[in-house]
C-alpha cells in the first residue's frame, strides 16, 4: 500500500495500463512534453514517447473524433479534455457518435474509449474552469460516466474504464487532485463500473453524493456523530447509468435522504437519484427527499465572495444534514 494523491493514482493507472497493453494511448492538449496542465500525464511522454502520448492540435471535436476512429479500429485511446468545460465542442462526437456506435451498428462495431476531464470548482477558476458538466451527458444510453472520490477508487475505476469495451467519461474533481490522499494497493486491481459504494455506514439519515461531495459529507458526518446522529454515506462513483439497487437500499435504510451535488440544482444527476427513490422507495421515507446543490446560475463566479456562495462545503452539508435529522 502506498499513500497517493488522487492525481497520482490517476497517473499511475494510465502508466500501468499503457505498460500492460500497447493498444492504450493518450491524446489531448499539452499532455505530452508538459505532462498536462494539471500534470496528470507527467512522465508518460518520457516513458512511452510522442507516438503514444500525443499532443493534439487544439480541437476537442477532433481529439474525441480521432479517438473514436482509433477505438473503432481496436486501440484504446484515453482522450484528455484540458478542462471539463472544454468538452462542449466535442458533444456531437460524444453523444451522436461514441455513445451510439455499438447500438447503431447492431453490435458490429464498438468504441472502447475513455475521455478524462478535470471538473469542479473552488479553485478560482471562474465560470469556465469550474463547471460540473456531467448532467449534459447523464441521459445518453451507450455512455458510462464515472466520477471517483478517492485515490483508491480513481485508480481502480480508471483501469476498469480503460479496459471497458464501451466509451466512458471519466470526470476528476480538480480540487481533489492534490487535496485528497489515500491508500492505494501495489497490486493490479479494478473496480466495477456501475456500482455505488457505501463510504460510511449509518442509521439516522442517508447522504448520497459523489466526487468532492463525498469528503464534505464524511466530514459533516463526523460532526453529527458527536451529537449522536449517525449518517450513512453512499458514493455513487458511476453517475450514469446509476446503481439503482444501491440507491434504493441506501434510501430505505434510514428513510431520510439528502442528495448532494456541486452542480446546479435543477436538472442535475441528483434529480434522477431522487426520481428513483420516489419511484421505488416512497413508502420507506420519513422525510421529503432533500437536495443540496449549487444555485441555478450559469456557473460559479471568479470573485471569492461569489465563488464561496456558489460552492458546497462541509458547513453547508452539515446544516442540511441537521435540518433533515430534525425533521
Amino acid at each position: 500500500m502506498a499513500n497517493l494523491s488522487y492525481i497520482d493514482a490517476i497517473t499511475l493507472a494510465m502508466k500501468e495500463e499503457m505498460e500492460r497493453d500497447d493498444r492504450v494511448f493518450i491524446l489531448g492538449e499539452d499532455v505530452g512534453l508538459k505532462g498536462g496542465v494539471f500534470k496528470a500525464t507527467q512522465g508518460l511522454y518520457d516513458e512511452f514517447g510522442e507516438e503514444r502520448v500525443i499532443d493534439a492540435p487544439l480541437a476537442e471535436s477532433a481529439i474525441v473524433g480521432v479517438g473514436i476512429g482509433a477505438a473503432m479500429y481496436g486501440l484504446r485511446p484515453i482522450a484528455e479534455m484540458q478542462f471539463a468545460d472544454f468538452i462542449m465542442p466535442a458533444v456531437n462526437q460524444i453523444i451522436s457518435e461514441a455513445s451510439r456506435i455499438r447500438y447503431r451498428s447492431n453490435n458490429d462495431w464498438n468504441c472502447p474509449m475513455v475521455i478524462r476531464a478535470p471538473f469542479g470548482g473552488g479553485v478560482h477558476g471562474a465560470l469556465y474552469h469550474s463547471q460540473s458538466v456531467e448532467a449534459v451527458f447523464a441521459n445518453q444510453p451507450g455512455l458510462k460516466i464515472v466520477i471517483p472520490s478517492t485515490p483508491y477508487d480513481a485508480k481502480g475505476l480508471l483501469k476498469a474504464a480503460i479496459r471497458d469495451d464501451d466509451p466512458v467519461l471519466f470526470f476528476e474533481h480538480k480540487r481533489a487532485y492534490r487535496l485528497i490522499k489515500g491508500e492505494v494497493p501495489e497490486e493490479d486491481y479494478t473496480i466495477e463500473i456501475g456500482k455505488a459504494d457505501v463510504k460510511r455506514e449509518g442509521e439516522d439519515l442517508t447522504v448520497i453524493t459523489y466526487g468532492l461531495g463525498v469528503h464534505f459529507a464524511l466530514q459533516a458526518a463526523e460532526r453529527l456523530e458527536k451529537d449522536g446522529i449517525s449518517v450513512h454515506v453512499l458514493d455513487l462513483r458511476t453517475i450514469y447509468p446509476l446503481d439503482k439497487e444501491a440507491i434504493i437500499e441506501a434510501a430505505k435504510k434510514t428513510g431520510k435522504v439528502l442528495l448532494v451535488t456541486e452542480d446546479n440544482k435543477e436538472g442535475s444527476v441528483m434529480s434522477e437519484v431522487s426520481a428513483i427513490i420516489a419511484e421505488h422507495a416512497l413508502f420507506d421515507l420519513d422525510a421529503p427527499i432533500k437536495r443540496l446543490a449549487g444555485p441555478d446560475v450559469p456557473a460559479m463566479p471568479y470573485a471569492p465572495t461569489m465563488e464561496k456562495f456558489f460552492m458546497i462545503n462541509p458547513d453547508k452539508v452539515e446544516v442540511a444534514m441537521r435540518e433533515l435529522a430534525a425533521f
Partner: protein, 334 residues
C-alpha cells in the same frame, strides 16, 4: 477516335468492365429503391445517382481487401466495391433484421460492415472525417500499410469536423484520403451559398496537403488522382483532399422535390453528363463493351436486384424487444 485512357492507368479491360458493372449495379439498385419507395414499400431513399463514377473511380483505386472506408450516405458505389451485396443493401432499405449495416436500426445509406472495413456511419454529417483520421492514426501506430478513405458532400465540408479532422491528418501526416463529392447542392442550397472558394480543394493548402479537383463524371480521372493519393499515403507522404465535381441526378432524398429549387436547364445538364452513359460510350467506342456483354450484364444485374428485393422484402424484422440489445457490450439478454 476515342483515346484509351485506362490502359495508360494500368487498368485492364476486365477491370474497367468491372468498374462499369459496379456503377450500373449501384444505379439499378438505387432506381429500384425509388420504385419501392413510390410504391409505399420502403419509407426512405437517398441516392447515389450521378455520383457513381466518382465513387467507383475512388473505390477501385483503393485496396478493397485491406483499406478502410468511411463512406457517406450516397456512397453505394464505394460499399459495393468493398464487398457489400445488393441483397444486403436491400435488407437495409427494408430495415430488416439481417441488414449488416445496422440490423434495421438505421436508415438506408448509413453504411457499416466491419468484416469489409466499412466504418459505421451516422446521420450528422462530417463526423466521419475525424473517425477516418483516427483509423489512419491507429494504422500508423500499428505499422500497418492500409489507407483510409472518407467521403462527404461539399455542403458538409463546411462543418467544423472537416477542418479539425483534416488538420489533424495534416499535422500527423496520416494516410487518409478525403474525398468531397461536390454535386453542387446541399439539399436545396446551391454551392454559391455554401462556400466562397473557387474549389473546395482550395482548402487543402490550409492543412498542408495536396488538393485536387477532378471531373467526377469520369471514373478514370477520379481513379487517377485517387491512385496517386493512395500511393502517397502508403509511402508515408500523408493525406490528400480530392474534390469530384458531379451532378445530383435525383432529388436530395425521397422526402424532397428538387424541382422546387432547380431549373429545368440545370437538371438537363445533369442528365447530359450522366456518368454511366458517358462511361458506357467510352467503353463502347473502344470496343471493350459490346452489345452482347452489355445485354448480359444488364440481365445479370436485374436478376441480382430482383433477387435481392424479393429476399429483403420477405425477410423478417427484428423483434420489438431487440431494440433493447447492444447498448453496452455486456448487455443483458431480454
Amino acid at each position: 477516335m476515342t483515346e484509351n485512357k485506362h490502359t495508360a492507368l494500368g487498368l485492364s479491360d476486365e477491370v474497367v468492365l468491372d468498374m462499369y458493372r459496379t456503377m450500373l449495379l449501384a444505379r439499378r439498385i438505387d432506381e429500384r429503391m425509388w420504385l419501392l419507395n413510390r410504391a409505399g414499400k420502403i419509407p426512405f431513399v437517398i441516392s447515389c445517382q450521378g455520383q457513381e463514377a466518382a465513387q467507383i473511380g475512388a473505390a477501385f483505386a483503393l485496396n478493397n481487401e485491406k483499406d478502410y472506408v468511411a463512406p457517406y450516405y450516397r456512397d453505394m458505389g464505394v460499399v459495393l466495391h468493398f464487398g457489400m451485396t445488393a441483397k444486403e443493401l436491400m435488407l437495409s432499405a427494408f430495415a430488416k433484421a439481417e441488414d449488416p449495416n445496422s440490423g434495421g436500426r438505421q436508415m438506408p445509406g448509413h453504411f457499416g460492415q466491419k468484416k469489409n472495413r466499412i466504418i459505421t456511419g451516422s446521420s450528422p454529417v462530417t463526423t466521419q472525417v475525424p473517425h477516418a483520421v483516427g483509423v489512419a492514426l491507429a494504422g500508423k501506430m500499428q505499422k500497418e500499410d492500409f489507407v483510409t478513405f472518407v467521403s462527404l458532400g461539399e455542403g458538409s465540408s463546411n462543418q467544423g469536423d472537416f477542418h479539425e479532422g483534416a488538420n489533424f491528418a495534416g499535422v500527423h501526416k496520416l494516410p487518409v484520403i478525403i474525398m468531397v463529392e461536390n454535386n453542387r447542392y446541399a439539399i436545396s442550397v446551391p454551392l454559391s451559398k455554401q462556400v466562397a472558394c473557387e474549389n473546395v480543394s482550395d482548402r487543402a493548402i490550409g492543412y498542408g496537403m495536396p488538393g485536387v479537383t477532378v471531373d467526377g463524371n469520369d471514373p478514370l480521372e477520379v481513379y487517377k488522382v485517387m491512385k496517386e493519393a493512395a500511393d502517397r499515403a502508403r509511402n508515408g507522404e500523408g493525406p490528400s483532399l480530392i474534390e469530384t465535381i458531379c451532378y445530383r441526378l435525383t432529388a436530395h432524398s425521397s422526402d424532397d422535390d428538387h424541382r422546387q429549387y432547380r431549373t429545368e436547364e440545370d437538371l438537363a445538364e445533369g442528365r447530359a453528363n450522366d456518368p454511366i452513359v458517358r462511361f458506357a460510350a467510352y467503353l463502347k467506342d473502344l470496343g471493350v463493351l459490346t452489345s452482347e456483354i452489355e445485354e448480359k450484364m444488364q440481365e445479370e444485374i436485374m436478376a441480382e436486384v430482383d433477387e435481392a428485393t424479393d429476399y429483403a422484402e420477405n425477410a423478417p424484422y427484428a423483434e420489438p424487444e431487440h431494440a433493447l440489445q447492444y447498448v453496452y457490450g455486456n448487455h443483458e439478454e431480454v
